[in-house]
Chain length 326, copies 2
């Protein structure tokens, strides 16, 4: 129960990982941190953090339709992983695959999205690779430096820890809802979706939070992955009206009390709930009823629906209904 391998994405990653030997100087095991952490021969005080992310599924599914968004998200998804380990970025490289030919419209708009995202956080793109393919696929790889004794990982969650997000969440879900439901774009224009990597929060929390994870895949998915890794669950009793809004934040767990947490420099944390011994996610509903939820069916839904949109939507509603969320 609650195994990592109940999630098909973890299985897919595992199929690759099992072929690979473990690097001697690596500080993290698979899934244990948002970025890979490796020793630097000439700098014993720091670890090098490196992370790679491809934005392709979201483009093919029609979630991102504007090249500017595609570029922006490629940068932010990658830098969010650095934020979640508490690293100071050194720079990024990007690999861009697109049916370009001599038409450089995509390059111009997606390139501007990448550049604007980088400028907003003081990060630079160092270089990259470009390829001619029939489908758009954008890959970002970020590197950074983090003090060895203060690095944040996904491990370390303890019962009683308070759970925070470093900003409001839900913009990704809002955009997804508009695309799936056929609601008019004006309900949530794509230009509203401009997540920002929480680099300052990651820096402020290193050495303080007991664990952290990027919430790009959604808050509940993040909690579910943390639960499977740490063997402890969460009791989520926040006021959701305080949570929903922005996206891509580092989710932070800490033994400190909320009042103490509010004093962290550069972070305005929002309390989600508490870590519980029992490895299950418990939601406190507005009705004051408490419900234990199992995220695996939701997290696997993209794989199990095989691209059947009607099935995806009906299953999504059915699962929510079974949790009493109707």
């Amino acid at each position: 129960m609650n195994r990592m391998d109940d999630i098909l994405e973890n299985v897919a990653i595992g199929a690759w990982v099992k072929a690979f030997s473990r690097a001697p100087g690596q500080a993290n095991a698979p899934h244990e941190s948002d970025a890979e952490l490796i020793e630097l021969p000439g700098d014993p005080e720091h670890l090098l953090a490196i992370t790679i992310d491809t934005v392709a599924e979201e483009i093919h599914a029609g979630l991102y339709q504007e090249p500017y968004t595609m570029g922006w998200v490629t940068v932010m998804a990658s830098l969010s992983d650095l934020a979640a380990v508490g690293a100071d970025p050194l720079g990024m490289v990007v690999s861009v695959s697109a049916p370009l030919g001599k038409d450089s419209d995509l390059a111009e708009s997606a390139g501007r999205g990448m550049e604007d995202a980088c400028r907003s956080l003081g990060v630079f793109i160092l270089g990259g690779d470009s390829n001619l393919t029939s489908e758009i696929s954008l890959t970002g790889c970020s590197i950074g430096i983090v003090p060895k004794n203060a690095v944040l990982t996904r491990r370390g969650v303890q019962p009683g820890d308070a759970v925070f997000v470093t900003g409001r969440a839900g913009a990704g879900n809002a955009l997804g809802l508009v695309r799936l439901s056929g609601l008019p774009d004006e309900c949530f224009p794509e230009s509203n979706y401009r997540p920002s990597a929480r680099l300052a929060a990651g820096r402020a929390l290193r050495g303080r939070a007991t664990a952290a994870m990027d919430t790009s895949d959604g808050v509940l998915t993040t909690l579910d992955q943390l639960m499977r890794l740490n063997g402890h669950g969460f009791e989520i009793d926040c006021d959701w009206s305080m949570i929903l809004s922005e996206d891509v934040l580092a989710l932070c767990l800490a033994a400190e009390a909320l009042s103490e947490a509010s004093g962290w420099p550069g972070v305005v944390p929002i309390r989600l709930g508490t870590v519980q011994e029992r490895a299950v996610i418990t939601l406190a509903l507005p009705s004051r009823r408490r419900v234990d939820i199992d995220m695996s069916s939701l997290r696997n839904l993209l794989d199990t629906s095989g691209g059947d949109l009607a099935f995806y939507l009906s299953e999504f509603k059915r699962i929510g209904g079974s949790w009493g969320l109707e």
Copy 2:
């Protein structure tokens, strides 16, 4: 004449690069080195080298048909860029996009290709990302460390420099010929194509060669790019029977004489010719005739043929014929 922008691939890269600000701590300008070079805050003696490469076009075109080859090449193409700047690798991350689902055959074979390539050079895959897409696309990103005062770049070519390859070339072209010509696979089985990144050669040549570049795109293409960057050409008067065989080597230029070069530890260089003042590539033919060649039409042929194989082949022959190579 001989501008970087005569080559459509350079133009495509430029369309992206022009959107990006230059990083303050970066030691190379665009195109000037095989890997991006950036200062390390905690280690003033070294530069961090980082490079990203996607293997997709070669897979869609049918050049690589075995997943093992796809994985192997993804690793070697990336590490070759580290070799060409003389870096010691710290590790790699990979992003794998494929129409996988629950079928892990591709993951198993391509993963084994990646692992075997890494093991042959003592490098480790630190982690990565996996995506569900309709086309296979494999991206490798390598990081390494290189002494600041001995880094190799593509700049520094001087008239009179002797030009070497660090091993035999041509396996990529041989595989391409089999695929394009419809010759039976037995003429050059895909399993013969196992290029190896010249990491030891790169290390041995740092601080010695005046310039270096990875020849993954072919020896003449590499010379053409070096010519456009440096404003000097090459007179190639080698015995091609000594050159053709292996692939993916660092191409090295040096002021030292051949005899001196042979003394470089870990490198068995093969002499190609000499740098000439005039920015043109001159081939000495077996007939003792000398011919100046213009690589731009060949380098742009994939773009200009728009996937028309018959046109590609007839143009390829026509261009070769116009050089007297018939």
